[in-house]
């Protein structure tokens, strides 16, 4: 009966949307490094920990008032709630239950609740013994009155800060990555201190005229000497003791420098990753950005243009020289191979990236990056560079939205320049926005003043605009001549005066920037007005 109830409950949790949502919310809040609320929560907790520790220091020689005690209680309850929540998030009980239940059903063997309970408890115990959970626990426990002795452990709360500071985590990770060297050094140091303390006790005990009264004092002296601190409260008097001191000091110097070098070199190795982490963190803050793979000549031009437009972008390149150049220019850069799934995923292809540009000089790599990106995100815009004509088709096949051929475009530009320099410069000038005359598209929103209007009625001339044509997918317009199919749309060049605009059409106009902006504002306003009237 109990078993059935629990299995039923597990199924209920599995299907409950609200439960999933709640769990996801707390996961985002507490554990998910990319969670939106997590940074705020972390800062809040850091402040709380600091305040509670200050309160502890204040308590040393003051009596706590009622409000302070209340505050302390609140902090502790928050700590407890956090601890329990993290325990809850650590594993999904209902999943474990269901997994075992379904397995038992399938194999036709009896489902044993006890066994599953053991697994669940083992999981939770594993959580309790993770280092960070232990620190959390030690930060909570001392407030329990009978355990007042553990008061000093209240300082463990400071260790709780580990959770909220990424840099501390990195420091811990660096130390862990060097644990072999550190353990070796520790063992050696242990031996050294052991030999030193026993030797000094043997030579310098009061019977020999020394100051070392017991083994603990010998140990204390050995540590002070090895660490090259040398308070001088205990000093060797005998020749034997002094020889020990000399040896211990020299070896101590060596050990210390070794320790420093181990840590420094470990940090050096991690430095690149740290920098990259800060790049990722910065990317996470952007709502939209562009990924540029390859910072060669083309990539550099693109980056410069995007910088001018104040658009966000990140560069991925494998070449050291390109990476350092990008860094010098102050761009965000990831020194990695963009063809690896993980790299482009970490860069945020599914988290805010709006477009991927493959502009390496190697078509093989471009095809590969295009394929990878398309696979990871079916909707993203991918613009890829083809250095050879033969590869254009392959790039489209790999999923590129647009393919650019540098030499072909340049050839075309030359031909246009020779044929019709004025016309060509005009169109280039418009596109590049060098003059204040620009070419823009204006969307016909439903309910705006131009929706359902004919071209004649808009009077572009009076608005100081030139209408080139209309882009539309609407089949209503098909009867008009002068239409040019472009991908899945049609471009209607020089539309007739009685061409009636429909929702979703795009007007292609040329004009001064402010004339276009003004007209766009009018369209927007009329749309909002009509909506509010409705």
């Amino acid at each position: 009966m109990l078993t059935r109830l629990i299995v039923y409950l597990a199924y209920f949790l599995k299907t409950s949307k609200r439960y999933q949502r709640t769990k996801l919310f707390f996961y985002d809040l507490l554990e998910n490094p990319a969670g939106r609320l997590k940074p705020y929560f972390d800062i809040f907790m850091i402040c709380l920990v600091m305040l509670s520790v200050f309160l502890l220091i204040y308590e040393v020689d003051h009596k706590l008032g009622e409000s302070e005690v209340l505050f302390e209680r609140c902090v502790i309850s928050l700590f407890i709630v956090e601890y329990l929540l993290r325990g809850w998030l650590y594993s999904d009980n209902h999943k474990i239950i269901l997994e075992h239940y379904e397995k038992a059903e399938y194999l036709n063997i009896p489902f044993r609740l006890g066994k599953v309970a053991k697994i669940i408890i083992a999981k939770k115990i594993k959580y309790i013994f993770t280092p960070l959970a232990l620190i959390d626990l030690l930060a909570i426990l001392p407030t329990y009155r009978p355990l007042r002795v553990m008061r000093v452990f209240l300082l463990f709360r400071l260790f709780k800060l580990f959770r909220y500071f990424n840099s501390i985590k990195v420091f811990a990770r660096v130390l862990v990555s060097r644990r072999f060297e550190l353990i070796t050094l520790g063992v050696f140091l242990g031996f050294l201190v052991f030999i030193g303390s026993t030797a000094i006790y043997l030579f310098e005990n009061p019977a020999n005229g020394g100051q070392v009264n017991n083994l603990f004092e010998g140990f204390y002296w050995a540590i002070v000497t090895v660490a090259t601190v040398g308070y001088g409260d205990i000093a060797p008097q005998t020749t034997g003791g002094r020889i020990i001191a000399i040896a211990l000091m020299l070896v101590g110097l060596g050990v210390l420098s070794f320790l420093v070098s181990v840590i420094v070199s470990a940090f050096n190795e991690e430095m690149d990753e740290l920098r990259e982490n800060s790049t990722y963190a910065e990317l996470n803050r952007f709502k939209d950005f562009i990924i540029i793979c390859g910072f060669g000549r083309v990539g550099q031009h693109i980056a410069r243009q995007l910088e001018k437009d104040q658009l966000n972008f990140v560069i991925i390149d494998t070449k050291e020289a390109n990476v350092s150049k990008a860094k010098r220019l102050g761009y965000l850069v990831i020194h990695e191979d963009a063809s690896k799934n993980g790299v482009i995923q970490n860069a945020g292809i599914n988290k805010g990236a709006t477009a991927v540009i493959c502009t390496t000089g190697n078509d093989v790599i471009n095809v590969y990056i295009t394929l990878t990106s398309r696979h990871l995100n079916p909707d993203i815009r991918i613009i890829s560079r083809a250095n050879s004509q033969d590869n254009v088709k392959k790039l489209y096949q790999a999923g590129a939205s647009n393919v650019i051929q540098p030499f072909e475009i340049a050839g075309m530009v030359v031909a246009e320049y020779i044929g019709q320099p004025v016309a060509f410069e005009a169109i280039l000038g418009i596109i590049r926005e060098e003059s204040h005359v620009i070419m823009e598209t204006l969307c016909v929103h439903s309910g705006s003043l131009i929706d359902g209007m004919s071209i004649d009625g808009i009077n572009f001339e009076q608005r100081k605009l030139m209408l080139l044509g209309i882009i539309s997918v609407n089949p209503v317009h098909r009867k008009h001549k002068n239409s040019y199919p472009i991908k899945n749309q049609h471009f209607y060049f020089n539309p007739v005066p009685n061409f009636v605009l429909r929702e979703g059409d795009l007007l292609v106009v040329i004009g001064r920037e402010y004339a276009i902006d003004h007209f766009r504002d009018r369209i927007e306003k009329s749309r909002l007005k009509n909506r509010s009237q409705r």
Binding site: I290, G296, R297, V298, G299, H301, I302, Q305, L306, L311, I357, R381, I383, R385, Q389, N402, I404, Q405, P406, F407, E408, I409, A410, G411, M412, V413, V414, A415, E416, Y417, I418, G419, P421, V422, A423, F424, E425, A426, I427, I431, R432, S435, V437, M439, Q462, K464, L465, M466, I471, N482, Y484, I486, K487, F491, F493, N494, V508, I510, G511, A515
Partner: protein
């Protein structure tokens, strides 16, 4: 008919040659060896093999006499600079279009006497940027003006004694009469700069002024003919 000599074998030179209208231009490809010449000749272009470092050889292909324009499309900048200097020394009025590999060489090429410098990487970078920021417009231009459809942009000079002389630009009404859109006018009275036809200023056309129009190739041709005949 203008005569163009193309130096240097690359994707770019082939592209440029194939884009040029062969009715208007006579194109000759100058190869540095027979192999190159054979490859280009396969595509139906006239070819010649010379050593571009030799002034006499340059003269022999018509530089200084009947070649109006040269394209310096060698992959290495110093070759292009050398060719530009040689050609400029022979003919002061020749139009020289050169590509650069290293942006720093652009100045040197200009100093050597080139009229137009093309940086393929820069153009490609700009193009990508346009695609990103204005996809609709780039799409239209790529598919029409620069592309396969017959929608073109053209510049038309007003000939002497044309009936369009003394016409106001607002009276042209090209979009109604000819299915063309007037993009802008170069009014020689006001200098060489292009004035966009966005209803800001009235221009009175004179001989020598240039109309920049956009429209189907057929209509552009018809319009040109009409101007010349009337």
């Amino acid at each position: 008919m203008k005569r163009i000599a193309v130096f240097g074998y690359s994707v770019m030179s082939l592209e440029a040659m194939s884009r040029l209208d062969r009715e208007q231009y006579s194109i000759v490809f100058i190869g540095k060896d027979e192999n190159e010449a054979a490859l280009v000749a396969e595509k139906g272009f006239a070819t010649q093999v010379i050593d571009f470092r030799n002034d006499e050889a340059l003269k022999s292909i018509g530089i200084g006499t009947d070649v109006d324009t040269i394209f310096c499309f060698y992959p290495r900048d110093f070759d292009n600079v050398f060719l530009t200097i040689s050609a400029r020394a022979i003919d002061k009025n020749i139009t020289i279009v050169a590509i650069v590999d290293d942006p720093e060489s652009a100045e040197k090429l200009l100093a050597a006497g080139a009229n137009k410098i093309i940086d393929p990487y820069e153009i490609c970078g700009r193009k990508t940027h346009e695609m990103l920021t204005k996809p609709d417009i780039t799409n239209i231009l790529d598919n029409t003006v620069f592309g396969r459809h017959d929608l073109n942009m053209a510049q038309i000079e007003i000939p002497k004694g044309s009936c369009l002389e003394n016409t106001k630009t607002s009276d042209l009404k090209l979009n109604q009469k000819h299915n063309l859109i007037l993009i802008g006018v170069v009014d020689r009275e006001l200098g060489d700069q292009l004035h966009f036809a966005i209803g800001e200023k009235e221009h009175r056309l004179d001989a020598g002024d240039i109309l920049v129009v956009m429209g189907p190739a057929k209509e552009i041709k018809a319009f040109k003919k009409e101007i010349e005949q009337c």
